[in-house]
């Protein structure tokens, strides 16, 4: 199931705004879309892992939030709360990053008449994420080699050192890669003034319409419900009964 890059952008914006401001019910309704779409991409393991972690965080938070759990407990509860808010956003972004090719994204943006000056840096950013992970993993290995561990007496004494060890090599190598990348792209004719074509066909289909309408309905429900200070279940029952 392929979506148009513009639909994905719309999904990402609506889903993130709803997830950040609405109660968990809306989050579930929103991130169900990328989750189902990821199943089409055969990412079973990722979706399963995501759901287990999300469920654990939400249930844990709901169960513990009213109890007196002490200082350490409070830390755990707030972590759960952050996880339950951030996970849905992660899955939406993961879906968009995983399934959007760079050329497809650029084609979609130019259909919306976004100038190349904006699109090219955004595309480089998407291209950059996997590189950041790759580099970060290599640096992690190097740190292990040197016996610098994340949780040890040494790092507890000097928590900023660990940040420095991790970030400085990362920044140095990313700056270098970024420069080489833009050199390579410009020698291959990528420039703000060029008019590109795209070998991946871009266009709207039935599935795009479904996602659009669905997102709008969920968002509308949330806005109406919060105005009327009612839950989504009340609205559904009001419509059907």
């Amino acid at each position: 199931m392929k979506l148009d890059p513009r639909t994905k952008l719309f999904l990402a914006i609506v889903a993130n705004s709803v997830i950040l401001s609405a109660p968990p019910v809306y989050s579930v309704l929103m991130f169900a879309v990328p989750a189902i779409l990821l199943l089409f991409e055969k990412k079973w393991k990722f979706v399963l892992a995501f759901f287990s972690l999300y469920l654990a965080a939400v249930l844990g938070f709901e169960h513990l939030k009213t109890m007196d759990v002490g200082r350490v407990g409070t830390l755990a509860v707030s972590t759960m709360m952050i996880v339950s808010r951030m996970m849905p956003i992660t899955i939406v972004l993961y879906y968009v990053m995983q399934t959007t090719k760079a050329n497809e994204f650029m084609a979609g943006m130019s259909r919306m008449h976004v100038p190349n000056k904006v699109t090219i840096p955004l595309t480089v950013m998407i291209r950059f994420f996997p590189t950041v992970f790759d580099e970060s993993r290599a640096i992690g290995n190097a740190m292990k080699m040197r016996g610098i561990r994340l949780f040890s007496l040494q790092t507890l004494k000097n928590p900023f050192a660990i940040l420095e060890y991790r970030l400085i090599p990362l920044l140095v190598s990313l700056t270098k890669i970024g420069d080489e990348l833009s050199v390579a792209a410009s020698t291959r004719g990528l420039a703000p003034e060029t008019r590109r074509t795209c070998i991946v066909p871009v266009g709207f289909h039935a599935q795009d319409l479904i996602v659009f309408v669905y997102c709008l309905i969920v968002a509308a429900c949330f806005v109406i419900a919060s105005r009327a200070k009612q839950s989504i279940f009340d609205i559904i029952s009001a419509i059907f009964c």
Binding site: A102, R127, A138, I168, V172, T187, R188, G189, T194, T197
Partner: protein, 465 residues
């Protein structure tokens, strides 16, 4: 399309006195294959940037003189215009692809030219067949090996069908088999009447295809030969200029097998690794490394060498494998040393893993690696070779007995390779056991005592030199 470089001087700063290029004149005829050779820092890469327009259009600096492609001056063109005529392949395979999947990447240049999608698809299919990379179609580029990435880079420039190809040290990260494939691709381009310019210090694979070898020294064109002329002068002459040899030394030919019993070894057992049980990536029941000696590990890209190194160093594998590696004390010098330098000074770098911290001992280690005068410098401000020696120094200071090197000489010229070789010998003399993953036969012949060759995750050969 012919290339004329006329009286070009260039400096990266505004001051023309310490110029990288000094009054360079070079005429390359249409259909010629020219190799720009010379030591690192001689300015050969800078000349290649004149041809693909990165100088003066991307790199800031001061330039005098003219570069003409056909009858057009590059200074009057845009990079996008130049890209229609010149295709470039760069040294680092990790940072020259813009897309995440191979098909889009091969099509990328054509898309930028605004070609019809149907025609682009045809071209992509044709190029994939020509370069014999059918097995790489539709793959994620992040999952490809360095050699495979470099082939994709060649395919992508081929797709736009430029008149001129510029390759900047394309073989730096490749094994011998992939280098041979690269030579075939260059022959294909030449047979079509394309102009090919290769910046390189490994000359062996270009022997049959190059028309001229232009030797660059201190920003000037020093002299030039045909490959036959250079070969006549003998390997010592090439070595004295810092060039790698034209004939590849065969490790097996120089082999002098001695039935010596090795007194002491470091032995690993059951080095196995797999992502799925049925398909083992690595299956080595026993690996013995002679103590205090240098052992080379050879094998093609994808034979399992890096996985073996990571297992030996405890970066991969089961919990018990990791614990065994830690107990033994192994240290890995990575190919990209930028990843393993963390602190603000060279001295801190050495002290970081040292227990107990002993400044005078650290200085002594730095001295033995010719780094003492850099003790207070920031590691990232050093040259590539110096960074590598800092990484080695921190390995020595952490008191590990076994040091593993991943491709220590990739992209190095002859003199730098000899310097690394000398460092390795010095470490062995200190009683360290060294295990060197390499594609470089010259390094192996220079300093290694033993050779292990791997294929498909198994050891297929072991011998002493």
């Amino acid at each position: 399309m012919n290339i004329s470089i006329k009286n070009v001087s260039f400096s990266y700063t505004d001051c023309i006195d310490d110029a990288v290029l000094k009054d360079v004149n070079l005429q390359i005829e249409s259909g010629e294959c020219v190799v720009l050779a010379g030591e690192s820092g001689s300015g050969k890469t800078t000349i290649s940037k004149l041809i693909n327009g990165l100088i003066p259009l991307y790199q800031s600096g001061t330039m005098a003189g003219d570069v003409l492609l056909g009858d057009k001056n590059t200074a009057d063109m845009t990079l996008a215009e130049i890209s229609r005529h010149v295709g470039s392949v760069f040294q680092n395979p990790r940072s020259q692809f813009f897309n995440i999947d191979t098909d889009s990447e091969i099509a990328f240049g054509c898309e930028n030219l605004g070609m019809d999608p149907e025609e682009i698809r045809e071209r992509v299919n044709r190029v994939v067949k020509e370069i014999h990379i059918e097995h790489l179609a539709g793959r994620n580029i992040f999952h490809l090996s360095g050699g495979e990435k470099q082939k994709i880079a060649c395919a992508s420039v081929n797709a736009t069908d430029p008149d001129i190809f510029v390759l900047d040290e394309p073989s730096a990260n490749l094994d011998l088999k992939t280098i041979a494939d690269l030579a075939e691709i260059i022959k294909l381009w030449k047979s079509r009447g394309k102009t090919v310019v290769v910046v390189e210090h490994r000359l062996h694979y270009l022997r049959d295809v190059a028309d001229r070898i232009v030797y660059v020294k201190d920003g000037r064109i020093d002299c030039e030969w045909t490959p036959a002329e250079l070969e006549e002068k003998g390997p010592e002459y090439a070595a004295s200029l810092g060039l790698r040899s034209l004939r590849l030394p065969s490790v097996v030919a120089a082999l002098e097998e001695r039935a010596q019993s090795i007194a002491e070894t470091i032995t690993f057992r059951n080095l196995t690794f797999s992502y799925q049980k049925k398909f083992p990536i690595l299956d080595i029941p026993e690996l013995s490394l002679p103590k205090g000696k240098i052992t080379a590990l050879l094998g093609h890209n994808g034979a399992g060498k890096s996985t073996l190194a990571q297992l030996v160093c405890g970066l991969r594998g089961s919990w018990s494998q990791k614990r065994a590696a830690r107990k033994l004390g192994t240290y890995l010098i990575m190919q990209d040393v930028n990843h393993q330098l963390f602190t603000e000074s060279v001295l801190d770098e050495v002290l970081l893993g040292m227990k107990p911290k002993d400044e005078s001992a650290a200085l002594e280690i730095l001295d033995s690696l010719n780094l003492k005068s850099y003790a207070e410098k920031h590691p990232m401000a050093l040259s590539g070779g110096q960074k590598q020696r800092v990484a080695i120094a921190s390995g020595v200071s952490s008191n590990r007995d076994l040091i593993v090197f991943d491709e220590p000489t990739s992209g190095l010229d002859y003199r730098q390779m000899l310097a690394v070789s000398a460092t390795l010998k010095a470490l062995a003399n200190r009683g360290k056991t060294l295990f060197v993953i390499t594609h470089d036969p010259e390094l192996v012949l220079n300093c290694c005592h033993h050779v292990i060759r791997m294929d498909h995750g198994r050891i297929v050969e072991q011998y002493s030199l």
